[in-house]
């Protein structure tokens, strides 16, 4: 189980919080993209450009969203557990199934996120209720990005896979929908600070606490094939 950070305690990387707090959204979003193995070989400037376009797209989605859309979609389920695992914090998930859509919010993870925010000195930016609203808005954005809006995001990013004269085949940029969802939640919930900063602060806390990466554990048997 993840140890919750405490202000001034060894579970709180204050230097990292300060760096994250000073960074702008494009830097944070580009950092999120570069963390994906898929973008390992990408030019950092290209990632920054994609991050900026995805952020703008998310903000536009929030501006154009009808008033009733927030929270009026799929069934919302609150679960008190299941959000914290070694090396992982799962705040919310959106499940799109043929039987119906559902958003699951993990309150243990929301509480953890709030404590990270408090350790970083951002408790007024991220009270528990604001984190919950941001989580719901984030998943709502993912729901909206299915279909037409997803294709519009792809076109906005302008990643050309193939070009034959005037014909262009646009490529999908993994992680861009995540950035757009954060930007949507930021604007939709009127937060003073971006959820991207909270995400980066949680990541920094997990790193600082030395929670192992998601790879084979020590229990992986050696000398066995296959």
């Amino acid at each position: 189980m993840n140890r919750p950070p405490t202000p001034g305690g060894d579970g709180a990387p204050h230097g990292e919080y300060a760096r994250i707090g000073a960074a702008d959204d494009v830097d944070l979003a580009a950092g999120l993209l570069s963390g994906l193995a898929l973008h390992e070989t990408r030019d950092p400037e290209r990632l920054r450009a994609w991050a900026a376009r995805a952020l703008e797209f998310g903000r536009e989605m929030a501006r154009r969203a009808p008033d009733g859309e927030a929270g009026s979609g799929p069934e919302v389920v609150e679960e008190a557990t299941g959000g914290l695992a070694p090396g992982e914090v799962l705040l919310a998930e959106y499940l799109h199934r043929s039987s119906g859509d559902r958003i699951v919010v993990h309150t243990d993870a929301l509480d953890y996120a709030h404590r990270v925010a408090r350790a970083a000195g951002w408790e007024r930016d991220f009270p528990v209720r604001a984190v919950r609203r941001a989580a719901l808005a984030h998943e709502e954005a993912h729901r909206m990005l299915h279909g037409r809006r997803g294709r519009a995001l792809r076109d906005r990013l302008g990643h050309d896979l193939l070009r034959l004269g005037r014909l262009r085949l646009r490529g999908h940029v993994a992680g861009a929908d995540e950035i757009a969802a954060h930007a949507y939640a930021h604007a939709r919930c009127g937060l003073r600070r971006s959820p991207l900063a909270l995400t980066a602060a949680i990541a920094a806390t997990l790193e600082h606490q030395g929670t192992g990466p998601g790879g084979p554990g020590p229990g992986t048997p050696l000398g066995d094939r296959p």
């Binding site: 914090v89 997990l206 790879g215 296959p226």
Partner: protein
Amino acid sequence: MTALGILLAMAVGVGLMLTRRLPTAFALVLLAVAIALIAGAPLTGEEESVVGTVVQEGAPRLAATMVAILLGSWLGTLLSETGIASTLVRKIVEFGGERPSLVAVGIFLVAILCGSITGSAPAAMLAGVVGIPAMIAVGVTPTVAAGTVLVGIAAGLPLELINWQFLSDAIGVPVSTVQHFQLRMFPIALLGGLAYILVEMRRKGVRHTWAVRVGAGAGGSGASGGGSGTRRERAARRRQRRGDAPWYALLTPLVPIVLALGLEIPIVPSLLAGVVFALVTAVSWREMTTTALRTLYRAFDVAAPPIVLFIAIGMLLAAVNLPGAVQALSPIVVAISPGHVALFVLVFALMVPLALYRGPMNIFGLGAGVAGVLVAGGIYPAPAVVGLMASYGQVLGVSDPTSTQTVWSSQYAGVRPERSMLSTLPYTWVIAVAGLCLTAYLYLL
């Protein structure tokens, strides 16, 4: 009495492996020595002895397989280091990113290619290091993401040259016999894998998260860094410098299989040709020799666990083929082995779970001994034993929660290996039964 003693020793061996009191390789060596002693083999001597026949001659019995494993691991390391595998995955995500099922099927195809080059956890890593987080990022659930890589590797198994060499050496049939069965098994594994992806994607749906995960980059957001070793960091920097592999280098995984199948070139030169092709197409002339040497040395690390296991399996095969063991076990195996074709399929279909958890039908463990007894006792024709073990291989290659690739893929996706087993077993069981039907049709009718 001798048979009872051997069966008891086998039961103890399975117990030691299941409870992880001993690594599989060590347990198999002890089991080989125990079987030989119980079968009345003298400790020393030129003929049919424990030291001479089981240990000395048994250890290098699968030498050809070991060389193939080393070369396959070298090629696998090159695919990783040169970015060929990750480029393939990246292109698939870029083409099909908005349709998670399409991305999953694409990564399944990449996993087939990786599984045809090398096996076990290295194959899972080749396809999964980038493929699993990529699938999760586009909305595939973690369980299905891990399962997709696993069924892909297993679908590539019938085309894996190393596997041909192993079954040939272990069961004592020509490579062409193994090839004859495996090429017919491939479409079954391919269809079974596709069925798993499409049905499970429909059942589980699409999942997007706001999640933070250290290291693996899975979930909505991945924190960077996190426990990456310095060698991995250096490799990542080299890949960053090098960028995407050129399109023609992406053909590398096809080179060995095309040479072996199309031009009937033997396994070792086919794998070596794949290595040379990867070096020439994806590495600059200036870095070629250093890259070749560095990846070869790393391949020794990768190949060490299976090679140790195959040394032990060689000893076990030598032990169960001793005249005393064959004489003692044959009557029992004849009595319990179904003679009728329909019963063959039914009984061995019911015994599928015995391939899991390092059970007695696991060809990479005691199953090699069982196969040896079935062949040595003349219970079934050797090609039928190839079919039986290859069918079981589809189950243990995907669903066995103690197999290294299952453990790695599941944990990397953030799910328990047992959950992967529950998700994939219904499909792999059906694939195995189809393989048994194929075996019966080809060799027993």
